[in-house]
Symmetry: C2
Subunit: 224 residues, 2 copies
DNA sequence: TGTTTCAGTGAACAACTGTTGACAAAGCCC
DNA sequence: GGGCTTTGTCAACAGTTGTTCACTGAAACA
């Protein structure tokens, strides 16, 4: 019952054998099914267990082999979105620092990233304020992680090195909020309206620019 | 069938007679029930028609005397939230312009307003990105209305009168997004943590301040 | 006054929900 | 190979859902 192998297999995502691989596959199919249903207009709290298993091509009872409840699936989904977000950060970082018009460039990367992963971003935006308290908290954690990592990046770049970390994080959190709002906006556009999309992007760039304009003016001792 | 009186009573919210008043009352009870259930952790898309009528103390079929579907109730709810928001704007406006530390003052009013109407703000934040497409669109309209009104207020105050309206609205939309995010954050705090609430408020004030710091620096011709 | 209109009731329906237990087959370990 | 473990299936349950229809009683109207 409590053999070593069993313990291993219950830890996160080991699943080396052919059996574990198969399990991971249908687990992924369940997560994918939920993501797909949500991108089709459903919202997560209204998803039923049976709907998800139907979409995944599995019998309802099989669900319990992977999650205790829909809420647990939701948390797994949040983690997946977090991974996606952090991958984005790594990509932007890897793209180097053009120093000239860095904002427009970063926004462009972000924009294309949102369009490439619409389901994850819709889910993140949708559950951030709407889901169950537990899921909301999980997303908050994920977002905070992202914010902290981003602030650290700014620090590494030597941006406003006179400011305390808390202030940098305050700025980044403002940026991230704006990012997520913009993602939700763009994903609600009818896909055949490139003009509206461009206006939205321009507005988004302007807002980010405005934030950094404010950040450059921020006094280290804002006591007024 | 098409008498004058009947026509009147189908128009929005006339309901002068004793009958109309009674109808309006249970309609309000339905809306209130939905709001209450949502503030208890449920999210709107997962609310069932029967749950709402149960909470409102009426039989399920009575629902149809007021709304065709839950989605229609949702739209009515959005409108109610919009009214709440505009009342807020009027209150801030009425409070006068202290000119000194206007941001901290406005934020304080807003803060207390959120705490006084938690159910409306939770609903607004929750459905803004999460609800059905129709409801999402309705909220977007409501928010845009608010943004436009706020931009007009800034103009009346003579704030950055050199900027085009579109730019003012871009700024206000950033402010409103930040406001709604902060509302969602504060409403998720455990109610016995005044220290966290104060930190949250300080962070919120800082973000708004940062935005206006950027706004003051914004060049009328941002072509770079 | 008598008649009409209509918000709210009650019973009933078919469909769907989450969850159960026993069972088949395939992977795993000895 | 044989026995244990485990993923997925099948059948079935009790409860809830949205919606229907015929109804009651009181307010509104003539």
């Amino acid at each position: 019952m409590s053999g070593r192998k069993h313990l291993e297999s219950t830890l996160a995502g080991d699943h080396a054998g052919a059996r574990g691989a198969r399990k991971q596959l249908t687990r992924d199919r369940l997560l994918d099914a939920a993501l797909t249903l949500m991108s089709e207009g459903h919202s997560f709290p209204s998803l039923s267990l049976r709907e998800v298993t139907r979409e995944a091509g599995v019998v309802p009872t099989a669900f319990y082999r992977h999650f205790h409840s829909m809420e647990e699936l939701g948390l797994a989904l949040v983690e997946e979105c977090g991974v996606t977000l952090r991958r984005l950060l790594r990509e932007v970082r890897k793209a180097g620092v053009p120093t000239t018009d860095i904002i427009r460039h970063s926004v462009a990367v972000y924009w294309q990233y949102v369009r490439a992963n619409p389901r994850q971003f819709r889910t993140a935006a949708s559950e951030r304020h709407g889901g169950s308290p537990a899921i909301r908290q999980a997303i908050r954690n994920e977002v905070n992680l992202f914010v902290r990592e981003m602030a650290q990046d700014l620090r590494m770049l030597g941006y406003r090195s006179d400011l305390p970390t808390a202030t940098l994080e305050m700025i980044c959190s403002l940026v991230v909020n704006t990012m997520l709002n913009a993602a939700s906006d763009i994903l609600d556009l009818p896909p055949d309206q490139p003009q509206l999309a461009r206006e939205l992007e321009a507005n988004f760039v302007a807002q980010i620019r405005l934030i950094f304009l404010g950040a450059e003016q921020w006094r280290a001792e804002p006591a007024g």
